[in-house]
Symmetry: C3
Subunit: 174 residues, 3 copies
């Protein structure tokens, strides 16, 4: 390949990488939505296939509540998802920065709506992610959810943030 | 064009196709938002121009409520849109898969907010689409809306899904 | 560079430009979210760095409430942002049209959720933007926010649009 073509091919691949990472998030949402309703092992497995073997799911700022590796993340989701009757997730404002040819970081905003304990809830917050290019394509290497609110719809989110429903904090899945 | 260039040109066109299909959805939202407020024939016509002549609008899983062809879809929208005072639509998580150079499928999530019968409503669900490349660009070939909820804001969406407001089911536009 | 390569390079840059403009919106949301909570000068400055020196922020249809130039926009934001305790913004349906190699227009929909005067609010509307390519990359040249509603969550948005909470209209920041 000539020099100019190589340059064009690299820029093109970077754009394709962005699309692949967007799709990673889209599929994560779709699978999670299904999983919250089905509570089926197949959906947990489908989500884990979007993750690198060394994936870390860490909603804590200091790693104290990190789930490390596919097995640990799977165990966490098998406990987490059944707590919801159903849910839809929306990813917004996804901004991707490449650190190398095979590593990238993403920041996005999310919303979720659905039912928990028989009540309508609304959630919003930020996703912070790291992605790695594997032989099978881009995969999640780190996933972090930083809540802005997660409240019963009838109670609303006014007040100090993150605003988290009392019942959730009482029986948090660590 | 040399072989490598042809390959680059094809990959580039695929990315441009993604952008064109995204814009198809964006314009669908903007036009629909206007049409729900204007109830004007011009907005129905503008939407139909985003559709292939053979477009099918089918919100049923089995084709029993399909509207086939631009004329039928136009007739449906002329009945549907005036039921709303106004509305905004948001498309999220759009994931596109190409089946050939000129055919693609999309899956996305949507939200809508607005007024119906003098009351604030919220809606969420999934869009399932097929697109075709025509001489005029990409067009909708199939559009399907799978509701998660469509409820009065004051009543909320708790309960079995899809959660649809009673009044809507009573006078459904088929 | 050969003719075909030049053509490919131009189409590629156009796609990169779309990504850069999307990121401009993403960063605008993230910075604004921080600024509504921090009320810090650093966040106002970070937002202004996304803007051309000649940026205009004009929420009026006739220019009567336009803020012209970075200094004027900064002064406006220093008055506007402290009125909110916190906020998240989501940009949807971003549709970009290029007018030249270095100028583009965008239309998008937005939602915002957060607290104002101790109460939960929801907002939705349209953004209308112009962008210019500078030596430092794409920047906002015009930003306009066209509200659909901006209401207390407990009051809802039913009624004539734009539906704006009474308290906001009473002490509008011009």
């Amino acid at each position: 390949m000539r020099g100019t073509e190589r340059d064009l091919a690299e820029r093109l691949r970077r754009l394709e990488d962005r699309e692949a990472i967007r799709d990673l998030h889209n599929h994560y949402c779709f699978i999670q939505d299904r999983g919250h309703q089905s509570h089926a092992e197949a959906d947990v497995e489908a989500f884990l296939r979007l993750c690198d073997l060394d994936v870390v799911w860490d909603n804590s700022p200091d790693g104290s509540r990190a789930h490390r590796g596919r097995d640990a993340v799977g165990a966490y989701l098998r406990e987490l998802w059944p707590r919801f009757q159903n849910c839809m997730h929306f990813v917004h404002n996804l901004s991707i920065v490449f650190e190398s040819d095979s590593r990238a970081r993403g920041r996005s905003s999310f919303e979720a709506v659905g039912d928990i304990d028989g009540e309508a809830f609304v959630a919003a917050g930020y996703y912070e992610d790291e992605y790695v290019r594997t032989r099978q394509g881009w995969r999640f290497l780190l996933h972090r959810e930083v809540p802005f609110f997660f409240v019963k719809e009838k109670e609303g989110w006014a007040g100090p943030k993150p605003a988290i429903m009392r019942e959730w904090l009482a029986k948090r899945v660590v």
